[in-house]
């Protein structure tokens, strides 16, 4: 079944922008982590996310058909063109907040990629199969760290609980559906995100119980990232740093 190219492009930008923005956020830790092993782990996670971005945005640029590259899409679009969920642009906060954000996203990716591997679009399926191998150990590590810090000292527990309360209103946006999702679902390219929530809740519920963290009851959601309606003020600041070189020296290569 053929699919509207613009809708497919939107879907691919959502995937690529999620991994790009989170990859950049995580890379901000490079050289600042509490211990060497965690510094290496964060840098490696960021690297995997940027690698996945090259695949998603590379395909997006191909579908767009304007002769652009993944780099053009990453470095030469402004905040209103980004289609990532708000969760991934949230500031790093402390180490615990960074790992909690990572876990909330990794858990979503692990559920989503399982479905995308069966996509009717061969390239989407290939990217998902490649990415899912990396996501498997990302989620293993972020879940372990959430448990270690949640069920740790009083200080670490309180910080993790505060981080969960801060980030929780950004979880719901990952399960929003609109006409792009409907088009993807109809073409068998991707599942309706809303259909992933039950599996997601089961996965995070198990980990949070082990981490002795209480999931907030509120279902209030901040949204507007994946549709591009309105990002938080944090994205613009992130882009000034990420895009600085290409903005100051357009086309610069080395």
């Amino acid at each position: 079944m053929s699919v509207d190219k613009q809708q497919l492009l939107q879907f691919l930008l959502r995937q690529g922008d999620n991994t790009l923005v989170l990859g950049h956020r995580v890379s901000e830790w490079c050289g600042h982590s509490p211990i060497l092993e965690e510094d290496i782990a964060l840098a490696n996670t960021a690297l995997d996310l940027i690698g996945q971005t090259q695949m998603w945005l590379g395909y997006a640029a191909e579908v767009q058909g304007e002769g652009k590259s993944a780099d053009d899409l990453a470095f030469l679009r402004d905040a209103w063109d980004f289609r990532n969920v708000l969760l991934v642009e949230m500031p790093n906060g402390d180490f615990g907040q960074t790992l909690l954000r990572q876990f909330l996203f990794d858990a979503f990716q692990s559920v989503l990629m399982g479905r995308l591997m069966k996509s009717s679009d061969e390239q989407v399926a290939a990217i998902a199969a490649k990415a899912s191998k990396e996501i498997t150990y990302h989620v293993e590590r972020s879940a372990d760290t959430v448990v270690g810090l949640g069920d740790g000292t009083e200080e670490s527990h309180n910080r993790m609980q505060a981080a969960l309360e801060y980030l929780w209103p950004y979880v719901g946006e990952m399960f929003e559906s609109d006409e792009t999702d409907a088009a993807m679902a109809a073409a068998g390219i991707a599942p309706d995100p809303a259909s992933l929530r039950e599996e997601y809740e089961a996965l995070i519920g198990k980990v949070f119980a082990e981490a002795t963290l209480s999931v907030p009851e509120s279902r209030y959601n901040h949204k507007g990232g994946r549709t591009g309606y309105m990002h938080t003020e944090h994205l613009g600041h992130l882009l000034t740093s990420m895009q600085w070189l290409q903005r100051a020296y357009p086309g610069c290569e080395w």
């Binding site: 995997d48 690698g51 090259q54 990217i127």
Partner: protein, 153 residues
């Protein structure tokens, strides 16, 4: 020059070391998926180990340099994503070479079989991540030495 055989090209590729772990070759690692001639052009299909592995561009450059040195003029490198690379494609020769080099080879169980230094089997994981995307950090509780484990994916 006359066009070399596909087998000859594989033999040349077999001599290119991995840029990060020079005791194994690119062919041993299982990332070269296909060699073929499209007319005059030698087409080599390469699959990445990890999507963001920074060695990927160096690997492509090493392949191109080697084939040019051997006299090939028209070379095309294709990135092949599917099927995704798995450590199952690593040769037994590479697994032995890794262990001798001090890196525990990948195991289906998800952890190293023994310490590559002393052969001990009281092992603990330090981190899921290591100096390159493909490795994790472990420690042997027998000889107390840390070592790297080539992750099984």
């Amino acid at each position: 020059m006359t066009q070399p055989s596909v087998k000859q090209v594989w033999e040349w590729l077999e001599t290119i070391p991995d840029p990060e772990i020079p005791v194994i070759t690119l062919v041993d690692l299982g990332i070269i998926r296909d060699v073929a001639f499209d007319g005059e052009t030698c087409v080599v299909s390469v699959t990445p180990t990890y999507s963001g592995c920074p060695a990927t561009s160096m690997i492509n450059m090493d392949i191109e340099t080697k084939l040019r040195d051997m006299g090939l003029k028209q070379i095309e490198l294709k990135q092949q994503l599917a099927p995704a690379w798995t450590t199952d494609w690593m040769s037994d020769k590479a697994r032995d070479a890794l262990e001798k080099y001090g890196i525990a080879p990948p195991q289906p169980s998800g952890g190293p079989k023994r310490c590559p230094h002393c052969g001990g089997n009281h092992l603990e994981k330090l981190s899921q991540f290591g100096s390159t995307p493909c490795k994790a950090q472990w420690r042997c509780q027998d000889c107390l030495e840390p070592f790297e484990f080539f992750k099984c994916i």
